[in-house]
């Protein structure tokens, strides 16, 4: 049942009260904390980052002059195909949501929301509407940033782009929530409930057929031979023909993003708003499903501690049994391995598979890789290895940075802090190294066909030396990140929580910069030693000398890192929970 106007007004008042007061208090708290150097330094760095990101380097540009040269053919072709490509992407996302629960955050209530709103005498749909309203600030920022970065022209067109993108984001968020509610009702005994759940699924199936038809067309025409052919095919996408009607609902929601004229934009906007309204009605109409879903969440909060464990961790057997005796480091490797095994879920797998698949599909479909699919996959392997080694330690925080939330327990353990730091960083080193090695092996094995200009001895010498250097580089970064957390705990967030705000962005940039600087300092002596080994052995071994050179450098780095863990021991002893950033 849809809430009455009176009820909706009352609910809206409460929601707006919570949102405005929370926003005001949060802003005041952030302003107050600017008195501390760590925050105003962070704020300055954050401001500088935003300034350079949006207004200097590839950021907001003035409108182009009328006398500019006409855009290249490929740009014209891509521009005309944008609506179809975007509709295809939305259709794929929507279809994936039925297979992998993407969620939308609307059913993830905070403890306070459960405590105060769940017992309130209002319908359960209200909780959903409240969550939707609360998510608007984030969605507006998410829409405004691309409008600033990618939009063209003055303030008007950018504003129109931001509004159109905001509608897309809200519609998707609502749709994902609707899918979460509808999935358990696909086989509902009541025909009405069943058909309400199945209709959007049928639309998704239709869209998948449409996208599959596009892909089939590309495959049937064979690999792209030249840039001209690529331009032709992209141009053809702008006239989708028979698949158009299947993609129509998705085209409707993205259409305003690409309408340049005000009149056209207005018409498109009505269409996308209508679709947003229909999605909202579909979700709110599922009152029984909302009731059940919110009951589950409320019950879970009622009986559980701080986190939603059932979603985050799934009960799976430990990879191996912990021996009753052994090194302290081994305990932490075991503990982190269990966490890794139990935290794998379809969403995590999707976040890895999706970028890789997208890269391979786009790489195969375009003329960017003259040696075809083999070269695309080899390049994807190299990219994976590089990204994992360079950014993995920053992203994967399954070490002390996550366990600091248990500091009061960990500090009671009778273990040397240096062993603790080594133990905490070993498992992420092993797992990231594994991913990186996989990428390198794939690239090396495909290299003869993918990169024929690189000889076989060089290929394997490069691959082996990279494989030898990778664990040292990853371990060094992880120890540096953990060291930063121990030395500057006020700049680090507890557990999985990430603080927000300009100052927090700046703090993260400063710590990342500091870590890379530290990595540079740690790498230089090892690299120099490696260079000496290379010059000494190259005349006899040729390219194969790269591997012992890398080994010498990596070993030296490992010794440095070992020393660093010992040096960080007193910092762990000094660490005090009161210095650390808490969730807001």
């Amino acid at each position: 049942m849809i809430p009455s106007v009176r009820e909706a007004r009352a609910m809206l008042g409460v929601s707006l009260f919570i949102m405005t007061r929370s926003a005001r208090n949060r802003a005041l708290a952030r302003l107050r904390r600017l008195r501390q150097p760590r925050y105003w330094l962070g704020a300055l760095a954050g401001l500088a980052y935003l300034y350079f990101a949006f207004f200097r380097v590839g950021g907001v540009r003035p409108p182009s002059d009328a006398g500019d040269a006409p855009p290249p053919e490929i740009v014209v072709a891509l521009l005309s195909a944008r609506p179809t490509i975007a509709a295809c992407l939305v259709a794929v996302l929507v279809a994936v949501a039925w297979i992998v629960p993407l969620g939308a955050g609307l059913l993830e209530f905070s403890r306070a929301e459960v405590l105060f709103l769940a017992p309130a005498p209002v319908r359960r749909q209200w909780l959903l509407v409240h969550r939707l309203l609360r998510s608007q600030l984030g969605l507006l920022v998410a829409a405004a940033v691309p409008a600033l970065l990618l939009g063209t022209g003055g303030a008007g067109p950018r504003l129109r782009f931001a509004l159109a993108l905001w509608i897309v984001l809200v519609t998707l968020r609502l749709y994902f929530t609707g899918v979460s509610l509808a999935r358990p009702r696909l086989a509902h005994p009541e025909p009405r409930a069943r058909s309400a759940a199945r209709l959007p699924l049928l639309l998704s199936v239709g869209a998948v057929i449409g996208v599959a038809d596009v892909v089939r067309g590309w495959i049937a025409e064979g690999p792209v031979g030249s840039l001209d052919e690529f331009v032709d095919r992209i141009g053809a996408l702008g006239h989708p023909g028979t698949i158009g009607w299947l993609l129509a609902p998705f085209g409707l929601v993205v259409r305003p993003l690409f309408d340049d004229t005000i009149a056209g934009y207005g018409v498109s906007l009505v269409g996308s708003l209508a679709l947003l309204g229909a999605t909202l009605l579909w979700v709110l109409k599922s009152d029984k499903a909302i009731e059940q879903a919110t009951d589950v969440v409320v019950e879970r909060h009622d009986t559980r501690a701080l986190t939603q464990t059932r979603e985050r961790y799934r009960m799976r057997p430990a990879p191996w049994a912990l021996a009753p005796r052994g090194s302290v480091e081994g305990v932490f490797v075991w503990k982190s391995a269990i966490e890794a095994v139990r935290s794998i879920n379809p969403r995590v797998v999707f976040s890895f598979v999706f970028p890789f698949t997208t890269f391979v599909v786009l790489g195969t479909a375009t003329a960017a890789f003259p040696n075809g699919l083999v070269q695309v996959i080899a390049s994807a392997g190299l990219l994976t290895a590089g990204f994992t080694t360079g950014m993995g330690p920053q992203i994967v925080r399954s070490d002390l940075r996550r366990d600091l939330v248990h500091l009061d327990v960990i500090k009671t353990w009778p273990v040397a802090p240096s062993s603790l730091i080594r133990g905490a960083t070993l498992w992420p080193t092993v797992s990231l190294t594994g991913v990186s090695w996989l990428g390198l092996v794939i690239a090396a094995m495909l290299s003869p066909r993918a990169f024929p200009e690189v000889s076989t001895p060089w290929t394997w010498a490069l691959a082996l030396s990279a494989m030898v250097a990778t664990p040292a580089l990853i371990l060094a970064q992880l120890v540096l990140h953990n060291g930063a957390a121990l030395l500057f705990p006020a700049w680090v967030s507890l557990g999985g929580h990430r603080p927000r705000g300009l100052d927090a962005i700046g703090q993260r940039l400063i710590t990342l910069g500091g870590t890379w600087l530290g990595l540079g300092l740690l790498t230089v002596p090892g690299a120099l030693l490696g260079a000496v080994v290379w010059y000494a052995l190259a005349p006899w071994l040729g390219p194969a000398a790269l591997a012992p050179a890398a080994l010498a450098g990596a070993l030296f780095m490992a010794i440095e890192v070992y020393g660093l863990t010992i040096a960080l021991g007193p910092a762990f002893d000094r660490l005090d929970l009161t210095d650390m950033e808490r969730a807001e």
Binding site: T303, R304, A305, L306, T307, Q308, T309, R310, R312, Y313, M315, A318, L322, A323, P324, R325, G326, V328, V331, K335, I338, E339, R342, S343, V405, H406, L407, D408, V409, K411, T412, W413, P414, V415, A416, D573, R574, D576, L577, T578
Partner: protein, 249 residues
């Protein structure tokens, strides 16, 4: 003495949380640490456990200084905090295995079975913390402390979230460990429990020790000594006047 605080103090910036606190707990003794909110009890317990570093003074466990010889001191210590923070991804039995390995507990498998039985956790070995109630998680924290042969046990509100049967069992467990020779420091707001199991009581207020002795000795200091609650209220100066209308009832 198994546990000894000597002129201990602890500051948070300019705020003094605990000032010049000295007392000791002997083996086999159960000492209650009580005080109003903000008195500094949890800060004291956390400093004893090595979680917080003392700002001054000396804290030792079995003669080992918690600052200078932390590993030796911690090996003899079990701290049961008031908030049952567990690793979300480890099952009940895996928490015990983790502790067993860290503290090098011999015959762990046997001890695990016994402690699970004692704390009524049998049948829940394979559950994750998220699948346990607050009380059950509290029991897991206590099981992690009791699974090893610690000489000093620190309990911070150990009965929070437990049902009446759990409270009785926990009381028996605490008393049983003391009889086995452990030194126990028990912080709780449940004064009848403290009165029942503790041989001595330390009362803190605003970061300072305001009384230390057996309940009978403390009773001699106040006018109304009918219960530890009355003694506590009078010593801390919080003896409230009767509520309006309560007499007519």
């Amino acid at each position: 003495m198994a546990l000894c605080l000597d002129h201990f103090h602890r500051r948070y910036g300019s705020v003094v949380a605990v000032e010049d606190l000295s007392f000791a707990v002997a083996s086999g003794e159960i000492v209650g640490l009580i005080g109003p909110n903000g008195a500094g009890k949890t800060t004291t317990l956390r400093s004893l456990a090595g979680v917080l570093k003392p700002s001054g003074g000396r804290v030792s466990i079995d003669g080992f200084d918690i600052v200078r010889q932390p590993i030796d001191a911690k090996r003899r210590l079990a701290f049961m905090p008031d908030e049952p923070h567990l690793f979300e991804y480890l099952t009940v039995v895996e928490h015990l295995q983790l502790v067993g390995r860290l503290y090098e507990v011999p015959n762990l498998a046997k001890l695990v079975g016994a402690i699970l039985e004692e704390l009524e956790l049998t049948g829940r070995e394979g559950l994750l913390p998220g699948e346990l109630s607050r009380g059950m998680r509290q029991k897991v924290v206590i099981a992690c402390g009791l699974v090893r042969d610690a000489t000093t046990l620190l309990f911070d509100e150990p009965l929070t979230g437990l049902d009446p049967i759990g409270i009785r069992r926990m009381r028996d467990t605490i008393v049983g460990r003391a009889r086995g020779g452990a030194a126990i420091l028990l912080s709780s707001h449940l004064l009848p429990l403290v009165e029942e199991v503790c041989s001595r009581v330390v009362i803190m207020d605003r970061g300072r020790k305001v009384a230390d002795g057996a309940v009978a000795d403390l009773a001699a200091l106040v006018s109304d000594s009918s219960s530890l609650e009355q003694i506590f209220l009078q010593i801390t100066g919080r003896d409230l006047p009767p509520m309006a209308g309560s007499e007519s009832r």
